[in-house]
């Protein structure tokens, strides 16, 4: 039967079940993210360099804590920001410019399904990051504690929402070229100077108040609390939760599905 004949068959196709649609989109996005060399560099290579640097260079360490532990905490925060923020913003920005978001919005997947699939894809890539970077950290002498790992899970999810929404906000409001430039620059600035690799306590007094209020500073402090025996800061948790909430509200308010 040719396609010309096939289209003459009775109509009756409906939408696939919601879970199948979302999973199909998550699989598509994951495949794209993992097959893109530049994105892999940001997702795996950059955090791996942070891990190696902080393991061997006396930087960002806490007194009485093994260097590998502070290095792993900083690497986890770097990896999260690279995927949830930088990679997703760039991918979404290009999708928006190419009209992909317009087409997706007309399909049974719809806008909500697209965002749900994107979140799952982000988590899937993060799982790959955890496996690869975790193996590297173990090889470098990391010996994690179960309680710390479990404590890091909600921090990871909250951080993903916060940075994912900020990435979407940039991707959905600026031109693609600006998205590309801004997210890469912000990634480097936040990792280097935003409280990710260097604990907030090490900053000069005038800078601490600013870094404390950054989502990267809050994430870095919480990761160190969970993975490097640092002190848990309720303030950091509140700051990260506020960024997650404000970011999500801003996306709902200002994200545009069509290109500028």
């Amino acid at each position: 039967m040719s396609t010309t004949d096939a289209v003459q068959a009775p109509r009756g196709s409906g939408p696939a079940p919601l879970a199948r649609r979302v999973l199909a989109h998550a699989a598509l996005e994951t495949r794209i993210l993992l097959s893109n060399g530049e994105q892999l560099m940001v997702a795996i290579l950059m955090p791996a360099l942070v891990l190696l640097a902080l393991r061997y260079v006396p930087l960002g360490r806490l007194e009485g804590i093994a260097p590998i532990d502070t290095a792993v905490a900083a690497t986890a925060a770097t990896a999260l920001i690279s995927t949830a923020f930088t990679s997703q913003a760039i991918q979404t920005g290009f999708d928006r410019r190419g009209g992909v978001l317009r087409w997706i919005a007309t399909t049974p997947l719809g806008r909500g399904g697209y965002l749900a699939g994107k979140i799952l894809a982000t988590l899937a890539v993060q799982l790959v990051q955890i496996l690869v970077l975790g193996a590297l950290a173990l090889a470098l002498g990391w010996r994690p504690e179960l309680a710390g790992l479990l404590g890091a899970v909600p921090v990871w999810l909250l951080g993903t929402v916060a940075f994912g929404s900020l990435g979407l906000l940039i991707a959905g409001t600026l031109r693609t070229e600006a998205v590309l430039a801004l997210t890469n620059v912000l990634f480097i600035l936040l990792v280097a100077l935003g409280g990710v690799t260097i604990p907030v306590a090490h900053y000069p007094r005038f800078a601490r108040a600013i870094v404390d209020l950054l989502p990267s500073g809050a994430l870095g402090e919480l990761m160190r609390a969970c993975l490097a025996g640092g002190a848990f800061s309720a303030g950091s948790a509140i700051v990260l939760a506020l960024w997650a909430m404000l970011g999500s509200l801003a996306v709902a308010r200002w994200f545009r599905w069509t290109s500028v």
């Binding site: 039967m1 040719s2 396609t3 010309t4 004949d5 096939a6 289209v7 003459q8 068959a9 109509r11 009756g12 196709s13 409906g14 939408p15 696939a16 919601l18 199948r20 649609r21 199909a24 989109h25 598509l28 495949r31 794209i32 097959s35 893109n36 290009f94 999708d95 190419g98 009209g99 992909v100 317009r102 087409w103 997706i104 919005a105 007309t106 399909t107 049974p108 997947l109 719809g110 399904g113 599905w257 069509t258």
Partner: protein, 296 residues
Amino acid sequence: MSTEHPPALLAEGVQKHFGLLRALDGSSFAARRGEVTALLGPNGAGKTTMISCATGLLQPDGGSVRVLGEDPWRASAAQRARVGVMIQDGGLTSGISAMRLLRYGASLHTDPLDVDEVAAHLGIDEFAGTIVRRLSGGQRQRLALALAIIGRPELVFLDEPTAGMDPGIRRTVRELIRALARTGTAVVLTTHLMDDVEGLADHVVVIAGGRTVASGTVAEVIASHRASNGLTLTATASGLSAEAARSLEEDVRALGARHRVDLRVSTGGAADLEGVLLDLMDGSRPGAPETEESSR
């Protein structure tokens, strides 16, 4: 051709403004099941805005749009599954192979067309493993068309469906569009290719300046335009000197006066759809004369 059912798409007095720009200024049209409806008009006329309103991408500022009886702005997943869309700038995810993207599109539906058959029919199997960003314009068009029809839609929007295609594929695509209409699908397409319109369209809607300025079959639009512009008699005289031409014109005018006809002598006129279209576009411009005849 089915007329007993309500239109698959009914747009009435649709208005859409972007700041001070009136992209749609009360445009209306209907698209019926089993028919190919062609939206025609110059770039910037409002065609894409109209399709965006009909596919739920934009919310009209005024008037109403009903697609398969529902408001497209609030379309559910079940409703969207009944409508296929091929958008003008492709809308194809670029970092994946053509065939994988087609399979993804099919996976969003419960009972899609056979992916391999569609790919073979439209020649997508020739570039199945190629990453979308490396496809040519025509190959992208074919893939976008396949994605629009893969879910067996009841209404399908095709924005410039044959643009950039070679003649062989264009013929295949035209046959496919005819087959879609034969099965009862309502097809709404935009195109600048008049042979596409004359070969495919059951119904033509001309949009200019955000308004519907003509609609009907191709023959009806041409006939209506001719009637509104009066009887057109065409004679070609070549090789005349300026003096002979002037003398001939005076004789023709005298003939008109004898028959009490307000005769206009034109240097040209619309005899086909393309000419009518150009006339209608000019007529829709603010301050433009009703006809473009050159009266002496």
